[in-house]
């Protein structure tokens, strides 16, 4: 992918091979209403809502504008192209794996490679501190977000069970759950043996036709790009709507710096495209680069008025990085599982998200069944068990008989876990991000608990020779929202306390990580932000 695809009045039509949709274009020198940096779960969704509300929107995405039907090979190695592979430093006692572990690259962001798990937060988590005694309270409640969870689930046509066992009563998912694969049935079997509830995972991939999306064919390459468009990524859901509503998307456009005007408001974004630095003027800037690139851009936009980083009066930009710890348990089964078939995570247990008794830790975790493809599985085996030589080949030969459970476990937001700038520069000459992370004692106790519980469930399901692994997923919290400027970077609307035309719209917003995958909550937050911005504009408060 060398040359940008959008331009000349058109953008790729993701639903037609070689097809194009018309795209409105804006001049760099015309101050558009909103420049959105990042076209992922936050940026694409908000760009869509803003454009549909009549605002002029330009989206800058560092990566390419994918054509799923043509670009996505059924191949793990070739599809590494979906990930943010530009250099970053990652250290600390429990250094986070980045790249393909959690960082997407391209229009659609990480929703192009994500596992489509679409879960809502437990209502109490929005009041983690006051109701559950840990972490921080969010500046909004579950009830504030519920209508937008509805909206996001409908927009994504989430395919979920008729009755989801956890959470407040809710309307039925738009589409029905998928047929459970054997990997998921292992979790189900184990859970039933233990008398624990389990469920099909509500997935953002369709179980029946939807417009031009055919139903999922269970090819299993979800983490490497859906080549059929069954997966309802931001690329095929929000971006086409944004384009139709008059937004412009500029692919292969790396934002380098946000310019602050003399009036103390953001004036626009410097970005690099086609080997030249350009500057897009804007009345508002939305930063939606996810929890590493968003603080990085703000820190790289330091200026006289904000020497610690743009909009960083609180000093919190880049801090309180959270992730989801992902302890895993794996076992061999007599039956053939062939876990490469179907989405990688089809069954879930949220028992420990909704049960507070019997825990020696704060917070919650969900865990799901697994379906790693060969390259990913081999790399997990070698890094976690240090297998090599014939021992590795022998272990890999059991591939079709393996099943596993991996948790999505809430880590505590702490100032020591952070994103800063390194002395290293990338190919654009920009200082790269330096990420530091370590678990707290609480984080470790939670992971121990999860390993024990999941191990018990796998054994109950008939698993043999169980062993455990460590991992993480998702990155959150580095520009968190809050109720006052001392303890947060943005307010409940995602608006910077310091620069009132600067907004954040991605996983950086999360004051706490919760015990579920973040993509649905990010998209719901973006839908809410779109509505809030409309309301503010109507009142002249923009």
């Amino acid at each position: 992918m060398i040359a940008p695809r959008t331009g000349g009045g058109r953008a790729p039509d993701v639903y037609e091979r070689g097809g194009w949709v018309t795209m409105r274009e804006y001049d760099d020198d015309d101050a558009v209403d909103f420049v959105v940096v990042g076209a992922g779960a936050g940026g694409a969704t908000l760009a869509c809502k803003l454009a549909e509300a009549g605002f002029s929107v330009v989206v800058l995405e560092a990566g390419p504008f994918w054509r799923p039907l043509e670009d996505f090979a059924s191949d793990e190695e070739a599809q590494q192209q979906l990930y943010w592979l530009e250099e970053r430093l990652s250290g600390g006692t429990d250094a986070l794996a980045l790249g393909g572990n959690n960082s997407g690259w391209g229009v659609g962001g990480s929703t192009v490679h994500f596992s489509m798990i679409s879960l809502r937060f437990r209502p109490e988590w929005f009041r983690s501190r006051s109701q559950l005694g840990y972490g921080f309270d969010w500046p909004i409640t579950y009830d504030d977000l519920a209508p937008y969870y509805d909206e996001a689930e409908r927009a994504l046509a989430v395919s979920g069970p008729v009755r989801y066992p956890w959470g407040p009563p809710r309307r039925r998912y738009p589409y029905r759950e998928h047929e459970m694969n054997a990997a998921g049935l292992v979790l189900a079997r184990g859970a039933e043996k233990m008398g624990i509830e389990w469920s099909a995972v509500p997935l953002a991939t369709v179980s029946a036709p939807r417009g031009k999306s055919p139903p999922c064919v269970y090819r299993g390459f979800c983490n490497f790009g859906c080549a059929t468009n069954a997966k309802q990524s931001a690329l095929i859901v929000w971006i086409p709507r944004a384009l139709a509503a008059g937004a412009e998307v500029r692919d292969l456009a790396m934002a380098g710096r946000i310019e602050l005007g003399a009036d103390g408001r953001a004036a626009g974004v410097h970005y690099r495209r086609n080997d030249a630095w350009r500057f897009q003027r804007a009345r508002n800037v939305v930063v939606a680069g996810y929890a590493i690139e968003t603080p990085r851009l703000l820190l790289n936009s330091a200026c006289g008025r904000f020497p610690q980083g743009l909009a960083n009066g609180s000093g919190l930009v880049g801090t309180h990085l959270t992730t989801h710890a992902g302890p895993g348990v794996w076992a061999r089964f007599d039956e053939a599982i062939r876990w490469y078939k179907g989405p990688p995570n089809m069954a879930v247990c949220e028992h420990w998200n909704y049960t507070d008794a019997g825990k020696d830790f704060h917070g919650g975790y969900a865990f799901m069944s697994q379906g790693p493809l060969p390259r990913a599985w081999a790399q997990l085996l070698v890094t976690e068990r240090h297998l090599w030589g014939m021992a590795l080949r022998r272990e890999m030969a059991d591939y079709n008989h393996m099943a596993g459970l991996v948790a999505v476990a809430e880590t505590e937001p702490r100032a020591c876990n952070r994103v800063e700038l390194a002395d290293v520069r990338d190919r654009h000459g920009l200082p790269v991000a330096h990420v530091t992370f370590e678990y707290s004692a609480n984080d470790r106790r939670m992971q121990d608990h999860a390993r024990r519980f999941m191990g018990e469930m796998l054994a109950a399901a008939g698993g043999k020779d169980t062993w455990t692994s460590d991992d993480t997923s998702h990155i959150l919290g580095t520009c968190r929202m809050g109720s006052d400027r001392e303890t947060s970077v943005v307010d409940a609307d995602g608006r910077s306390w310091d620069v009132d035309n600067l907004w954040i719209c991605d996983g950086s917003l999360f004051p706490t990580a919760g015990g579920v995958n973040p993509s649905l909550t990010i998209q719901a937050l973006a839908c809410r932000m779109g509505a809030r911005i409309q309301a503010l504009a109507a009142r002249g408060e923009l």
Binding site: S74, G99, S103, M180, N181, V217, R219, R338, R375, V382
Partner: protein, 203 residues
């Protein structure tokens, strides 16, 4: 050390037999054709580094059962030529190319210190001993200054080699992986259920 390759679990299974079936699409065929037929020549590693890496990979993923082994070294060389990493590194580790250059030299130095000979001239057991020392964090060479030997072994040498090995159709045949699947995915998803185009397990 048991040197026997694992018994064939899926005899007769060949992912590439599905080349013209609905399991393969154009982009996948192009991708795999390049992987199979366009194995890149040496462009970044020196000849000595290449030979050393070949010898290391032969211990990490031994293939005595193959007349034409799955190539690994050429793809690592290509990766280094393109400077295409994972997208992150530990602050204590040098950048990709520097890490590999230094690491390979240090592995060879390790061999010389342990056995008085370069790695490529050691027998398999001696080579394994060198690699085990790295795996166990028992490296002695000063060549590891600024580069964690264990991390280099696990996260660079081994992880990369395993990645390229299991990205090859022969490895997919070995483990009975369904392989490419577009537009045709899978119908039968349950326990002990196999579509006719999936690998049949020998019992």
């Amino acid at each position: 050390m048991n040197e026997d390759a694992p018994t064939a679990r899926f005899p007769g299974y060949d992912v590439l037999a599905k080349w013209d079936s609905p399991s393969f699409d154009g982009i996948t065929r192009n991708t795999l054709a390049a992987r199979l037929d366009a194995v890149p020549p040496r462009r970044w590693l020196t000849q000595d580094e290449w030979d050393l890496l070949d010898a290391i990979n032969a211990r990490l993923l031994p293939q005595p059962d193959r007349a034409q082994p799955i190539p690994i070294t050429p793809w690592i060389d290509a990766m280094l030529h393109d400077d295409r990493g994972e997208g992150y590194r530990h602050p204590d580790m040098p950048p990709l190319r520097a890490a590999w250059r230094q690491g390979l030299a240090a592995v060879d130095d390790e061999a010389r210190r342990l056995h008085d000979r370069p790695f490529v001239r050691l027998d398999a057991d001696a080579q394994d001993a060198v690699l085990h020392a790295l795996e166990g964090g028992r490296a002695v060479s000063p060549g590891w200054q600024g580069l964690d030997a264990q991390r280099f072994f696990i996260h660079h040498l081994l992880k990369t080699a395993a990645g390229f090995y299991y990205a090859h159709p022969l490895a997919w045949n070995e483990i009975g992986f369904g392989g490419p699947a577009n537009p045709r995915g899978y119908v039968r998803l349950g326990f002990d259920s196999r579509d006719p185009w999936e690998a049949k397990e020998a019992r």
